[in-house]
Chain length 244, copies 2
DNA sequence: TTGCATTGCGTATTTTTTACACATCACAAA
DNA sequence: TTTGTGATGTGTAAAAAATACGCAATGCAA
């Protein structure tokens, strides 16, 4: 039997990018009255789970990520730990907990993780029908303190993007400059001049043009690039700051 | 009885600044053999304590800070949570735990906090004889995973200092430009041109010159400044980036 | 009175950021 | 085949920020 620690969980705020919008992967939470079958409430939460006994918290986050998306070895980083005593005490959260996890504590500490996936290749998995992408600016009602959690994760992502080339986790392997630019614009929340952006990218030696052009577009086909983690690791001492 | 949560603690990495060096407040840990009285080991740890039942983790960190330094309402921010399963399993750590806290778990999650105090006015308190300041580059042997913890706290501090005016927590209320500059040099680990630094500071409207000069120095007395949190809060939208 | 150490202030150069214009390409419609 | 449309690729000038550095002023001490 896999016993879990009854006061400790991990929550993964999973970001995806497709169609020029930044999305968050949420799971529907619906509680029905056991007698009448009437729906008591419906809302959404980020992907979380309790930590098992003898499990590293980082491993627990990887496990949650794999279970919910199928992805492994992708960007996954801790950003904050939520430890308020009242964070699971709202009425509907208590109803939910009592029904689903009756043995857990009233004071659950949750370690928040931020993760990035290319949501265009994440296939809807029939075993997770209740798991859906929401655009970051059209979030539904959220359970627990997950609204705050998502806000903090976004802040973390924004800061990270200015200093490290993490955006590529959100793009397909091969991408064009304007795809990359949209991503930066969406995350940073501001528009960037196309020509200046391309000059900036040209300085990043770890963004490598391929002998290949975009296909199937109704206009001039753009150059295709890949991100080389190798080159980045070798040259990262040459500091990177995107001062947008 | 104040029961604590047996698998959750907070650790405060408390930084101080005096005499142009950055210091960390550590507590001596010495275990003696109960029979022979022989010292089994001696090392140091940062200031930590378990979290009580019904206590917010941020409150727990404030409590630790107050108990160890007497300070309240000073800079105190969470920077990372340490949750490896083996983090308290080293032999000497187990010996220590079994003797001092026999009831705690083998898997302790610890939320790391970073705090800043002006160590020149922190009087040695006789009730904390085993608590001493160490220069950041002359650390003694450390228990648990506290060497890593301090390294991460320093990194956090460094990044924070580039974006927010937190350094003033480490300085006396009234300070000179060269004191401020030493602080920045020590934390950022690089030297800064005195004249350029002063131009930069002149742009920060929340650093206010007083009608007052330094006293008791054997050379030209310097202008004295204070930091105004008020002015900072009102003007913080004008972004601050110290690009050193 | 002079020497010493440190403060206060200014200017020139280099680098980075920002603003902006025009030609090119590839498909699609006429 | 020609032409229109929409996005791509490149260059240059101005503004702002960062860096390098010189020199006079101050105040105590010898």
């Amino acid at each position: 039997m896999d016993a879990f620690i009854n006061n400790l969980s991990v929550d993964c705020v999973i970001f995806g990018f497709s169609n020029k919008t930044l999305n968050v992967l949420l799971t529907k939470r619906e509680l029905k009255d056991p007698d009448s079958g009437m729906v008591l409430f419906t809302d959404f939460t980020v992907q979380g789970h309790h930590v098992y006994k003898g499990e590293n918290i980082n491993d627990a986050a990887s496990r949650v990520l794999k279970d919910k998306t199928g992805f492994e070895n992708i960007f996954l980083e801790q950003f904050y730990t939520f430890g308020d005593t009242d964070r699971v005490l709202k009425e509907r959260d208590q109803l939910w907990i009592k029904k689903k996890y009756p043995m857990i504590s009233d004071h659950v500490i949750s370690v928040g993780y931020c993760s990035l996936v290319d949501s265009s290749i994440l296939m809807p998995d029939t075993s997770h029908q209740d798991t859906v992408w929401f655009p970051i600016d059209e979030l539904p009602e959220l359970g627990f303190d997950h609204a705050k959690m998502i806000a903090m994760a976004l802040d973390f992502l924004r800061n990270k993007l200015r200093h490290e080339p993490i955006g590529f986790e959100l793009l397909p392997e091969k991408f064009t400059l304007s795809e990359m630019q949209s991503l930066y614009e969406v995350i940073l929340g501001k528009s960037i001049d196309r020509r200046n952006f391309s000059k900036k990218v040209a300085q990043m030696k770890f963004i490598i043009p391929l002998n290949e052009k975009q296909k199937g577009v109704a206009h001039r086909a753009a150059q295709v690039y890949i991100f080389s983690k190798d080159v980045y690791e070798r040259t990262k001492k040459d500091k990177l700051i995107l001062s947008y």
